[in-house]
């Protein structure tokens, strides 16, 4: 495709479009790095038991990914360590190359968000947040952290939110999208109350070892299926937030749906609305059509960008969702990451381009 979506880099500085990348994955060199912030009791636990998720393996995935560390082959830092673990190399290969104004960190690989031991989940989440500050956001002001919380323990999660709220380096809250229960369930509401109170969006990156099959109807065989099923689970998560009344109850709460693409968004609204006609007596807490909540409180990162057979359908799709709802994300350094120069195989007007690549995120996060 010859159509590029970004202005030439030699454009005058005042009109230069500097990208806000809403999904960048920093990595620890190893989980032993956690020890820098873990109390002695949990350092010992880490050495003896490690992270315990709801999956068969301790250090790899039940659906083996299509690339080592699920990353671009060229993203392994010359200094050693896994992709995403070297700030200098990330600057060279991504932040500087693409003229990134702000990059939203999403730490995934070492995490406490769905760890099974409650105290350890809490301690690891806190350590991950300290690590983001010390090794990333304080070293490069373009990078913004996310407050990772152990979502299954709402009280601990709220404490962690309060620890960081107001810190300029932390702009959102993360929890796994596939938890023990759908995230609209009331056990998680204290987290949303805190998020709304502190004006922090929920930055929900597809993730989680819930123990539930990744597809409704059972476990698929292939990564090809699992990789698509995660977007379906995000649709179910949005339905839960809306139909279980979270969006209604916390009207200022903002939901950022990360790494699910966006092709499924309009149809979720249509299906919720069509069923609401017959079933609204079950959900009297909704005061608007379900799709109205989707249109006003939800944002979606773009990667992986949809590739319709007819490019004009991509424009129509974005018309349906709203040009103010999409946030560019690269997913660096993962194998399926999007290059901002080539990801959108359509022409965009300047205002549209600026909104998706920067303006929407700046408004949402107050950057």
């Amino acid at each position: 495709m010859s159509a590029t979506t970004l202005p030439r880099t030699d454009a005058p500085a005042e009109t230069r479009l500097r990208i806000v990348d809403c999904d960048i994955h920093p990595a620890m060199r190893s989980s032993a790095e956690l020890d820098r912030w873990l109390p002695a009791r949990w350092q010992q636990h880490r050495r003896e038991y490690g992270l315990r998720l709801r999956q068969p393996f301790t250090s790899t995935y039940p659906y083996p990914k299509s690339a080592p560390a699920l990353s671009r082959r060229d993203s392994w830092p010359p200094s050693g360590g896994p992709p995403g673990s070297d700030l200098d190399f990330m600057r060279e290969q991504h932040l500087d190359l693409h003229d990134i104004a702000f990059g939203m960190l999403q730490p995934l690989s070492v995490r406490g968000m769905d760890e099974r031991v409650p105290g350890f989940a809490d301690a690891v989440s806190r350590a991950v947040n300290e690590w983001q500050l010390e090794d990333w956001t304080s070293k490069d002001k373009r990078l913004k952290g996310t407050i990772a919380v152990p979502g299954e323990d709402a009280a601990a999660a709220v404490k962690e939110i309060e620890r960081w709220a107001g810190h300029p380096d932390f702009v959102q809250i993360s929890m796994v999208t596939r938890g023990l229960e759908p995230l609209g369930r009331s056990r998680y509401w204290p987290i949303y109350e805190a998020a709304e109170h502190h004006g922090l969006p929920l930055g929900l990156h597809t993730l989680g070892t819930s123990g539930h099959s990744v597809a409704g109807g059972g476990w698929p065989s292939f990564y090809y299926e699992e990789h698509q099923a995660v977007a379906m689970s995000l649709a179910a998560m949005c339905a839960s937030f809306i139909l279980e009344g979270v969006a209604e109850r916390f009207p200022k709460l903002k939901f950022v749906i990360i790494e699910g693409g966006f092709g499924w968004v309009p149809s979720l609204g249509w299906r919720m609305d069509s069923h609401w006609k017959a079933l609204r007596s079950e959900v009297p807490h909704l005061r608007k059509k379900p799709s109205e909540y989707l249109k006003t409180q939800f944002w979606f990162t773009t990667q992986p960008v949809e590739e319709p057979e007819k490019p004009e359908h991509l424009r129509k799709l974005i018309d349906w969702i709203g040009w103010d709802r999409l946030l560019f994300a690269s997913d660096y350094p993962h194998w399926d990451s999007d290059d901002p120069r080539y990801a959108f195989k359509i022409q965009m007007a300047e205002a549209e381009r600026r909104a998706i690549f920067a303006g929407n995120a700046r408004a949402l996060y107050g950057l």
Partner: protein, 356 residues
């Protein structure tokens, strides 16, 4: 009388089976005793509570007896108002969800006998899906073989969600038998609840289960595509009942994009998933999960990219529309003959034999 100018084929009608007691005349002595001594009767599916407004349209509710429970109601509510030429009965009955597959098989067999005797024998316009004990592919194949000589059974009814995703190879004998007998497999909004309805666990409300079933249908199709079901059984058709079509474009786009990147994992998938979908998958017209603007609906159909996908249905007695407004506004005039009739004739080989 007929609002459409052509006698449609209604692919999704739900006659109500009162319960196991109604099947006693169709069960052998052993199972009659088992059912009676256990007091087993109603096997109503939890996705369709009888009192829920979605389950029965207000003016189709019956003062006495079950909605959808009589041939008379079917004729006056579903067949005559639409001038329907043929109607396919798809009983939503929970027998396949039982863990005891022998019991499930006995009750499925009795249900099919009941459908034949109490419905098909009494109205020549009626056809039916075969209820099968899907958790046992071997017993499912037995039931397909038993029913196949009766050409009024035109498809195999599968739970939309069962113990394994349908594409898994343990299920392939079902597809082999279905293809051999010219029977499409139809997936209903029905679950044996072996897994939570979403990857995120159990939602709170019924409306969520129905909304999320759009994803379950996609998982099933993806499973069948990825495992190579359509490569192995090139004449097999899949009919999705009540899935809507709103999700189809993104399913095709994503499936194709990821297939380009990951096809070495599934080398037997020899064509793009979009191409496979358009050849093998058909979708009942209700519910109409589509944009309200007719022009947008036309764009959606263009994204789906096939005139052959939609099959007319009322979903009787479920509440999907009022009056006879079964056709979505914005369905292009040129598609009417296809949607109302021709697509069904091409989908169901056994119907084609009868009609022509």
């Amino acid at each position: 009388m007929a609002p459409f100018g052509v006698a449609p084929i209604d692919c999704d009608l739900h006659p109500a089976l009162p319960g196991c007691m109604a099947l006693l005349p169709y069960l052998d002595g052993h199972w009659r005793d088992e059912i009676a001594s256990r007091g087993l009767d109603d096997l109503d599916l939890s996705l369709w509570p009888r009192g829920a407004p979605l389950t029965v349209r207000p003016d189709w509710r019956s003062a006495k007896g079950l909605a959808g429970g009589t041939l008379e109601a079917l004729r006056t509510q579903a067949l005559e108002p639409f001038g329907t030429g043929f109607g396919i009965l798809n009983p939503l009955f929970g027998a396949p969800a039982l863990h005891n597959v022998d019991m499930a098989a006995a009750l499925c067999r009795a249900t099919n006998d009941w459908i034949a005797a109490e419905w098909l024998d009494r109205d020549p316009r009626l056809r039916a899906g075969i209820l099968v004990p899907v958790e046992s592919p071997a017993l499912t194949v037995e039931e397909i073989e038993r029913r196949a000589p009766d050409k009024r059974f035109v498809q195999v009814l599968l739970l939309g969600a069962a113990e394994t995703l349908l594409g898994r190879r343990v299920n392939w004998p079902i597809f082999e038998a279905a293809e051999r007998h010219g029977l499409p497999v139809a997936l209903q909004i029905a679950s044996s609840a072996r897994h939570s309805p979403t990857a995120n666990g159990w939602p709170t409300y019924l409306i969520e289960d129905h909304v999320n079933f759009a994803q379950t249908f996609q998982s099933q199709l993806l499973s069948m595509i990825a495992e190579g079901v359509f490569t192995k059984f090139p004449r097999l058709k899949v009919v999705l009942m009540n899935s809507g079509i709103g999700w189809v474009p993104s399913f095709l786009w994503r499936g194709t994009k990821e297939w380009r990147a990951l096809r070495r994992e599934v080398p037997w998938v020899d064509r793009s998933p979009a191409e496979i979908f358009r050849e093998h998958v058909r979708i009942s017209l209700q519910p109409n999960d589509a944009p309200e603007d007719p022009e947008d609906f036309a764009v959606l159909l263009d994204m789906v990219g096939s005139d052959e996908v939609l099959l007319f249905s009322t979903d009787w007695p479920h509440w999907r529309f009022d009056g006879v407004e079964a056709l979505p506004p914005g369905l292009p005039e040129r598609l009417l003959p296809r949607v109302l009739r021709d697509n069904a004739i091409e989908t169901y080989p056994r119907l084609k034999e009868t009609v022509q």
